[in-house]
């Protein structure tokens, strides 16, 4: 039902590096869980709408104003920083 290649692909999509052993375990676990979920196929859902919101489906508006946060504390959370800025690896790599 779900192949090891599928798991590999999902790991890439979800940005999680998986070891080969874990791919095998996940394949087994997912097959089990998806097997259980199969029972939803028995339900007659014809004409039933999707419940897409937990509460009423209406837009909630508020003023577009900046909120004060503790920027010192925020910056202290940066895993890497340079001159007070958050430092990350480049999105594009140089040759």
């Amino acid at each position: 039902m779900i192949s090891k290649d599928d798991i590999k692909k999902l790991g890439e999509l979800a940005r999680i590096h998986l070891t080969e052993k874990e791919e095998g375990n996940l394949q087994k676990d997912l097959e089990n869980i998806l097997g259980y979920i199969e029972k939803l196929k028995e339900v007659d859902i014809s004409g039933v709408p999707e419940m897409t919101h937990a509460v009423g489906e209406k837009n909630i508006f508020r003023k577009d104003e900046a909120r004060t946060r503790d920027f010192v504390l925020l910056k202290e959370q940066f895993p890497e920083e340079e001159k007070g800025f958050l430092k990350v690896k480049g999105v594009f790599e140089r040759e």
Binding site: I7, Y36, L40, I45, P49, I60, P79, V88, V91
Partner: protein
């Protein structure tokens, strides 16, 4: 001599104003209990060193004759996924190691405004994913009634803090049963409010359409007092609502017992355990004797609730957990390029259950599978909500056991994810429908020479928490 284990918010308030107890004495008592018991129970991830100072301030106010606020000097334990400004918060995950919250969750702000004191943050299943607190990256929490058993989860640390007399009250979060199931396993009260009744701002999100913050307490009245403090509409959570005034009858008269709860059997695995069934029957008789009319009702779609939940929830998890990538906060793993930094950070940072649900969520949302899984689950969710709507036209409340069996052994289910998922079979439908429910302790049953608590669940229509408190208070008289 104060009998600490029987204290409630109301009795503490009286003792404070009579000068028979001070907030400092109370905080010192809990800190002492934590020191004694917690090396074994592991309910707390961190005990804050400024609780005593906050207690001094509360005492000063009371001494100066200021009218004590609703929670003046009341010591709380807070689940590790609720942000307290300046304190570490980690959702018991390695990926947030070293993270300090830069703001207060709205619920924390509200508790603070009413004078609450924060004793520490409590252990949980990583990102609230689990039903035993064994999925914490920092070791399992143990059940004070039998340390070879789990306290339930994911708010296991908060339930044990209250049950083990290491806090007067606690906050937890409930996505599929994470407040009610540990409350049931630990013999305390746990409330899952109506979806939207309490702001989720500052709660580390697991599945946003299901998550709610709620209290874990020693009495129903305490749960009510805390709920009244934390509820209300909040600009920072667009799904939060100002509760409408209770509608219809003020006092509940009819209680429905859904027949499906007796026949729920999953993949040949155990349904309702005999001991719990007996206690449940007892609770029905008790309500009858108190003048309630008991009606058999039917929620035909709840048979499919858990299956729908295990599509909706991981789908939301995979989206919510994408923010943990080592870029802005938490731990970051080294890699030769950006993509590798993400993948390595998430490999090292997430435990097995978090990874499993992220991958499962990515699968059910991926192209070609959406209609077969996610869309179908959302339709079934609609049907479940309708079931509750229909039956609440006939009855004021619903009554069920909180769990199919009492606390299980540590290690018993950890290697079989599906059997762990089935733990939440009685609590999950409530989150899918968005209605409020409370678990109230109802005696114990004996197992291997130990007395294990049993929880009874009361369910009310949307925003009718008052009905839960009224009936809950009657139930706890027993």
């Amino acid at each position: 001599m104060t009998n600490y284990s029987n204290l409630t918010i109301k009795s503490v308030r009286e003792l404070f104003t009579n000068g028979e107890l001070s907030a400092r004495e109370l905080v010192a008592h809990y800190q002492e209990e934590i020191k004694k018991k917690d090396p074994e129970l592991n309910a707390y991830r961190e005990v804050f060193d400024d609780a005593f100072k906050a207690a001094e301030e509360a005492d000063k106010k009371i001494k100066e004759g200021e009218t004590p606020r609703a929670l003046e000097g009341i010591p709380f334990a807070i689940k590790d996924n609720i942000l307290i400004k300046g304190k570490m918060a980690g959702a018991s995950s390695k990926i947030l190691e070293g993270y300090t919250a830069s703001y207060d969750a709205t619920v924390i702000e509200k508790l603070r405004e009413e004078g609450a004191i924060f004793l520490g943050r409590t252990n949980m299943d990583e990102f609230a994913m689990g039903s035993s607190t064994e999925n914490s990256a920092y070791g399992a929490t143990k059940n004070p009634y039998d340390v070879s058993r789990v306290p339930g989860g994911s708010s296991g640390g908060s339930a044990v803090a209250v049950a083990g007399d290491m806090a007067l009250a606690a906050l937890g979060s409930d996505t599929g049963g994470s407040i009610r199931q540990p409350a049931a396993f630990c013999g305390v009260v746990g409330l899952k409010p109506t979806y939207g009744a309490v702001s989720r701002s500052g709660l580390i999100a697991m599945a946003s359409s299901l998550d709610q913050v709620g209290p874990i307490t020693k009495s129903v009245e305490d749960a009510e007092i805390i709920f009244d403090v934390i509820r209300g509409r909040d600009d920072l959570d667009s799904t939060s609502l100002e509760a409408k005034l209770p509608s219809g009858r003020s006092a509940s008269k009819t209680i429905g017992v859904p027949r499906e709860y007796f026949s729920l059997k999953e993949m040949g695995k155990e349904g309702l355990e005999e001991g719990i069934a007996k206690k449940f029957q007892e609770s029905i008789e008790f309500f009858k004797a108190k003048g309630f009319e008991i009606k058999e009702v039917s929620l035909p779609s709840v048979d499919y609730a858990l299956a729908a939940y295990y599509i909706v929830m991981p789908a939301e998890v995979s989206a919510n957990l994408s923010r943990f990538d080592g870029i802005r906060y938490g731990s970051r793993a080294e890699g030769k390029n950006l993509l590798e930094v993400y993948a390595k950070t998430r490999e090292k940072g997430f435990g097995p259950e978090a990874r499993r649900r992220v991958i499962l969520g990515a699968y059910v949302l991926s192209a070609g599978y959406y209609d077969a899984y996610y869309a179908r689950a959302q339709k079934v969710r609609y049907m479940i909500r309708k079931d509750f709507e229909n039956e609440f036209k006939n009855v004021d409340l619903l009554l069920t056991p909180t769990t199919p069996h009492p606390a299980f052994k540590i290690g018993e289910k950890v290697s079989d994810p599906l059997s762990m998922y089935l733990e939440d079979i009685y609590t999950v439908p409530i989150n899918l429908a968005g209605v409020p429910a409370i678990s109230v302790p109802f005696g114990t049953i004996e197992k291997e020479g130990k007395n294990l608590p049993v929880g009874i669940q009361l369910i009310a229509p949307w925003h009718e928490e008052r009905r839960l408190f009224e009936a809950g208070k009657i139930l706890e008289e027993k």
